[in-house]
């Protein structure tokens, strides 16, 4: 493999396959052959939680191409699949398996997103509910700074909520594998025991007595919510204990308040779209704000095209035809619902390239401009 990879990444082969690159030829022979790109085959889909009336959670095991460089516990990966109508959609998922080396199998664990717009299939729903074993998905390399240091401190606090457990679980599993001899305090918040992801494994961890205190909390059933007093009781002087926390926004604000700016706290946010799946019909009054993230400018949405609004805000984005044909003004929209004035089509996907000369915002919208 080493020799093949060296050859595939050689400058000679790159020159011979110019301008398309080696991967554009390899993928035709076998999608699992790659010189630079990362793809993976789904080798297993296992339901973790399946409560009737609630979106299911599943762990997907992926066999990546040899180009996968491995990951550190806590990192995430961008995962793209072709869902309805041959449209590739990419979303970010945390890796739930312990540290992996180059080319190693790993798992992602996700809840099928119940809020996905009706007209577009969501990546998580597709993977959890329908993806057959053998499906090939597109990956980035592992990303993110939410990782344990190489020298793990003696005492570690892990806090997670809902499906925010995935990166924390990866850390916990890595700590066990690395035979960490210190103490780990793990707090996890879930709706109910039925909603608990990795319940059996956590139960085993709790009973094994390897210095890992597991606290599974269900505030809706009367368990204490996260508060400084509660944390202080579990971990005296918790503000100075290295802590990693991941979960939905309300939990994260409670964590931030409790740690009060302590440098011992490391957090990971879920990226939640502010999109309104039903919003933005033509003729609706304009509302919200338009944020031009790179310029640091926010303006009130006046209902004009994003190009006009950017220009009115004093920006000078590149543009050409101003009628949606030349693509010069294509810009990454990071959040919000926009309507294409030519087709009337609305779109709420985060991280989508749009032609700003023919797009009007229907909700608060953020652009990489």
């Amino acid at each position: 493999m080493g020799l093949a990879q060296t050859l595939l990444r050689s400058r000679a082969l790159e020159a011979l396959t110019s301008p398309h690159g080696v991967d554009r030829y390899l993928e035709i022979a076998n999608p699992m052959w790659a010189a630079r790109e990362v793809r993976a085959r789904v080798v297993d889909v296992r339901r973790e939680v399946d409560v009737p009336g609630h979106p299911p959670v599943a762990t997907i095991t992926l066999q990546p191409t040899s180009t996968w460089r491995g990951h550190r516990a806590g990192q995430h990966v961008q995962l793209g699949v072709e869902v309805a109508g041959a449209r590739r959609t990419t979303r970010v998922f945390s890796i739930s398996s312990p540290d992996s080396r180059a080319g190693d199998r790993f798992t992602v664990t996700m809840r099928a997103n119940p809020d996905a717009p009706r007209d577009r299939q969501s990546v998580s729903r597709y993977l959890v509910e329908r993806a057959p074993v053998g499906t090939v998905v597109h990956l980035s390399q592992a990303q993110g700074e939410f990782v344990l240091p190489n020298r793990v401190p003696d005492h570690v606090v892990l806090i997670s909520g809902g499906s925010g457990i995935t990166p924390v679980m990866s850390m916990l599993r890595s700590l066990q594998r690395r035979t960490h001899r210190g103490r780990v305090t793990f707090l996890h918040y879930a709706q109910s025991p039925d909603h608990q992801i990795f319940a059996a494994e956590l139960d085993e961890v709790r009973r094994s007595g390897w210095g890992i205190d597991v606290h599974l909390l269900h505030p809706e059933l009367g368990d204490p919510a996260l508060s400084p007093a509660y944390l202080e009781r579990l971990v005296p002087g918790y503000r100075d204990v290295p802590t990693w926390a991941c979960g939905p926004a309300p939990l994260m604000s409670a964590v931030h308040a409790a740690y009060d700016g302590s440098e011992a706290l490391h957090v990971e946010y879920f990226k939640l779209g502010t999109a309104r799946p039903d919003g933005g019909a033509a003729g609706e009054p304009a509302d919200g704000t338009v944020s031009f993230a790179r310029s640091g400018v926010d303006v009130g949405n006046d209902g004009g095209t994003l190009l006009e609004q950017a220009e009115a805000a004093g920006l000078a984005p590149e543009s050409g035809c101003r009628m949606g044909i030349c693509l010069t003004c294509t810009t990454r929209k990071t959040e919000g619902t926009v309507r294409n004035v030519l087709t009337g089509e609305t779109s709420s996907q985060p991280d989508e390239d749009i032609r700003i000369c023919v797009s009007v915002p229907c909700t608060s919208t953020a652009l990489d401009l």
Binding site: P19, T330, T343
Partner: protein, 367 residues
Amino acid sequence: MSTSTFDHLTPEQIEEFGEEMDALRQRLVADLGEADAAYIRTVVKRQRQLEIAGRALFYLPPAWPAAVAALSLSKIFDNMEIGHNVMHGQYDWMGDPGLNSRMYEWDTVCPSEQWKYSHNYIHHTFTNILGKDRDIGYGILRMDEDQQWRPYYLGNPVYAFLLMVFFEWGVLLHDLEVERIAAGEKTWAETKHLHRGMLRKVRNQTLKDYLLFPAVTGPFFVPTLIGNATANLVRNVWAFNIIFCGHFPSGVATFSREETEDETRGQWYLRQLLGSANITGSRLFHVMTGNLSHQIEHHLFPDLPARRYPEIAPEVREICERYGLAYNTGPLRKQLGSVARKILRLALPTRTPSYDGPEVVGEPAAA
């Protein structure tokens, strides 16, 4: 000024015409999906297979003609049905980086970035507006009566022939606007931002076709080199001929800056229709042209997958008939003949509209 007329249409009718086009467009957009994705992926796969076959067959000297044929076809598919169309953003909705207008690079010496500017923006926005659309004669040829005649244009057929043979190089140099530099309207320094991209792409393309692939065939270095050059030539000749049939056959209208100021959407559609011409032919022929044989539909809907153009052509034509608008189409030999006659005719000064009187020579150009 137009040679086709739409004077019989009221402004309201022109807007109605535009609305019908918009409706057609929306219907197509709503229908995009698996079939379009499967189609373009099949074309890409065939192109890559042809390319690999062509490169490999140079190891078998008796198969030289087959190698050249496969490589020529590969370059034609790459440039036309794949490159041109992908770079129009026709498949951007798929979200596949390999088929994305911002990332695709084609197998020809012109960098995609520069071509997209002059083609997608300048040519497709200002189609056939004299003084704005540099694709009218590409700054080299006289392709319209309203381009003022100069003695330089006596060479029109020679320039056209040279442009055909060296077409990919012509496309490369297009953005430099050498004719404007020569006329003193622009300085060489103003083209500086283009040079690096051009040189890099030229280096990659020539290295591959004229050094590396010949070298890897070892003893067959020279036949491979000649084969690669021939494939590039075949692609040049084919692309030139198809493209020249898109806007230059007789009956295609050109427009002045004045009459296209403050244009409405309906008028824009009208200009795209009247400024373009189609070529009739078989299914394979249409694919070989990248469906640019449906230049009219392409100019109406430049960012919709080209495989849809033949499908909607009857409907576009029917709409045109209802509005009494010309729909310029014909077989390749007819359209090519018409273009060739225009190239020859415009080498000479324009005669006043013909009546059976004596020939009147147009004013000599004020140099």
